[in-house]
């Protein structure tokens, strides 16, 4: 077994690196830069039952060491994803994590049931940051009971393991993580974006047409590291860590915090080659840190045995 290999529920990964959902489309664009089979896994763009155009533009704004996005879950809909996007990805030797979104419990269930049956979908990632229309727009991801119920329902219909993608916009991430673990989640993805805004001082209006958007990039890494560190010590399911990863040192930091794999989001926009570059740099980094295997680092910031060597 290679020193980079990690084994997560449903995802047998050559290495711990995957692009994060929404930051890699369905892979087509990046396939022009490198062979997608090099990746540990791919998290595809959020899929909803129906096609969605998403929010009006501008949809992105830059912030210091970060960016805001309010794409609004634009995607071609479940049918097109199954018919067109997933078959194209089947050409690569890489497990797929299908990000599932919706505005009602039923939407999630429909998408989860159907998409989990596709041969090259190896796991689902429930995007619980979406506002629940029926519950007055409150995000599924802010109330542990609601998130747990959603997890349970999706687990019931899914043919593959289910990861729940946690939103950082809450006071107590540990309670949330435990609730979805208890509801049957096979793993966690964290973190999604922090809710933010920027105002254009000349137009006096928010830059984003949607007013608010999700903050990602290096700016949020400390929040992500803190949450992974807290949650990994409180749950028994693996964590896909993300938020601001740009360098191989960032990857190590997430592993030490307690992530079993690491997703790279915004950095793909800055450097389309970032994922293969990080994968290439990992072995030397392991040597430098005196680690035989990526797995020796997981949770190393709090696991005693790990710190001793």
């Amino acid at each position: 077994m290679s020193r980079l290999h990690v084994e997560l529920p449903g995802l047998s990964m050559k290495n711990p690196i995957m692009p994060a959902s929404g930051c890699f489309g369905f892979g087509k664009e990046y396939a022009e830069f490198y062979d997608l089979s090099e990746l540990g896994a791919i998290a595809i763009k959020a899929t909803t039952a129906e096609p969605r155009f998403g929010n009006p533009t501008p949809r992105v704004a830059e912030t210091k060491s970060g960016m805001l996005n309010a794409i609004g879950l634009q995607n071609p809909g479940l049918h097109a994803v199954i018919q067109q996007e997933l078959p194209r990805l089947a050409a690569y030797d890489v497990p797929i994590l299908a990000n599932v979104a919706g505005s009602e419990m039923e939407d999630y269930i429909e998408v989860a049931e159907m998409i989990s049956k596709v041969e090259n979908v190896h796991a689902l990632e429930l995007n619980i940051s979406c506002p629940n229309v029926k519950k007055g727009g409150i995000a599924f991801g802010t109330i542990p009971e609601v998130a747990a119920e959603l997890t349970r329902e999706v687990k019931r219909v899914s043919s593959v393991p289910v990861y729940v993608k946690l939103s950082p916009n809450i006071a107590d991430i540990v309670t949330m993580a435990k609730a979805v673990e208890a509801a049957g989640a096979d793993g966690l993805s964290m973190i999604n974006t922090l809710l933010g805004s920027r105002i254009d001082i000349r137009t006096r209006k928010p830059i984003l047409a949607n007013q608010y958007g999700g903050l990602s990039g290096p700016a949020i890494k400390p929040v992500a590291i803190r949450m992974v560190h807290q949650v990994s010590q409180a749950v028994d399911i693996p964590i896909i860590g993300m938020g601001g990863v740009q360098t191989v040192e960032d990857v190590i930091e997430f592993l030490l915090a307690g992530a079993s794999a690491v997703a790279v989001g915004t950095a793909n926009f800055v450097d389309p080659m970032i994922c293969p570059t990080l994968i290439e740099q990992l072995p030397d980094m392991l040597d430098e840190l005196g680690a035989d295997h990526v797995q020796d680092l997981i949770g190393g910031s709090w696991r005693e045995a790990c710190n001793v060597r």
């Binding site: 664009e29 155009f53 992105v60 794409i71 926009f269 800055v270």
Partner: protein, 260 residues
């Protein structure tokens, strides 16, 4: 897999009008810049506080010397930092990206009208050169705010007729590019334009039935089609889920294809 990312070395940088900079760079990547109207997605510097790349049009290309020019307005923090780069500095660029102006829409002997507004002028210059090379007659109508903002009038003059409009009337025709077109331009076979949205909107209204190609701007994330930041509606389905991406389907679209 064609290489779409490279390092460009600054060869020269000049302020050619008020806050308008002409940046000349050299690099291997230039060999791929064969389609006028494409753009580069530029990382202003290696520091991470300005996280995103900036889209800047390719203004001129010299395949023999592997040199290319960009022209940009130093307005925000990124373009201001870019304007401080001096000779020898290396710039990380992604590109050439997108679909440019279709050259096969004109025949030798045809008359092309090029309409540029402000910082939309630059991509038209490379286009004008390629059109002239092809034997197409070129007329350029360039619009600016004021006399101090005018640039590249001379350069376009070497390729065809040029009419300048300024909003405040301090130079050329007073008013917008459309005023200059009305006063100065008789006929044309094809229209190519790049400029601010109101300009594109009024050109669309006027020339919807003509052979016309417009270059659009939108805030971008990836620049390569992956993030869905730069999406616009199409006229045939203005409220629906059909879309075009400015970064990959555009920035140039036939008139009437996308909602201005």
């Amino acid at each position: 897999m064609q290489k779409k990312r490279g390092t460009l070395t600054v060869v020269a940088q000049h302020e050619i009008a008020r806050n308008i900079f002409e940046l000349t760079c050299r690099g291997e990547l230039v060999q791929q810049m064969r389609e006028p109207g494409q753009f580069l997605h530029v990382k202003v510097d290696p520091y991470e506080d300005l996280l995103l790349r900036r889209p800047i049009s390719i203004c001129d290309v010299n395949l023999e010397t592997s040199e290319m020019k960009m022209i940009y307005r130093a307005e925000g923090v990124g373009t201001k930092r870019l304007s401080a780069k001096s000779d020898g500095v290396e710039i990380d660029a992604l590109g050439p990206l997108g679909h440019g102006f279709p050259l096969d829409a004109v025949q030798p002997g045809d008359h092309a009208l090029l309409v540029g507004g402000g910082i939309g002028v630059p991509p038209l210059y490379y286009l004008a050169k390629e059109l002239v090379k092809k034997g197409v007659e070129v007329t350029a109508v360039l619009g600016f705010q004021s006399k101090q903002d005018v640039f590249y009038e001379q350069e376009f003059q070497e390729l065809g007729s040029v009419y300048v409009a300024t909003v405040d009337g301090s130079y050329g025709v007073k008013g917008f590019v459309t005023d200059a077109i009305d006063q100065e331009v008789a006929a044309f076979d094809v229209l190519y334009a790049c400029g601010p949205t109101p300009m594109l909107a009024s050109l669309t209204e006027r020339y919807r039935e003509r052979k016309a190609f417009l270059s659009f701007e939108e805030r971008m994330g990836c620049g390569i089609g992956a993030c869905f930041a730069c999406v616009c509606h199409v006229e045939s389905d203005p409220e629906g889920a059909t879309y075009r991406k400015v970064c990959t389907d555009g920035p140039v679209f036939p008139v009437g294809e996308v909602v201005v």
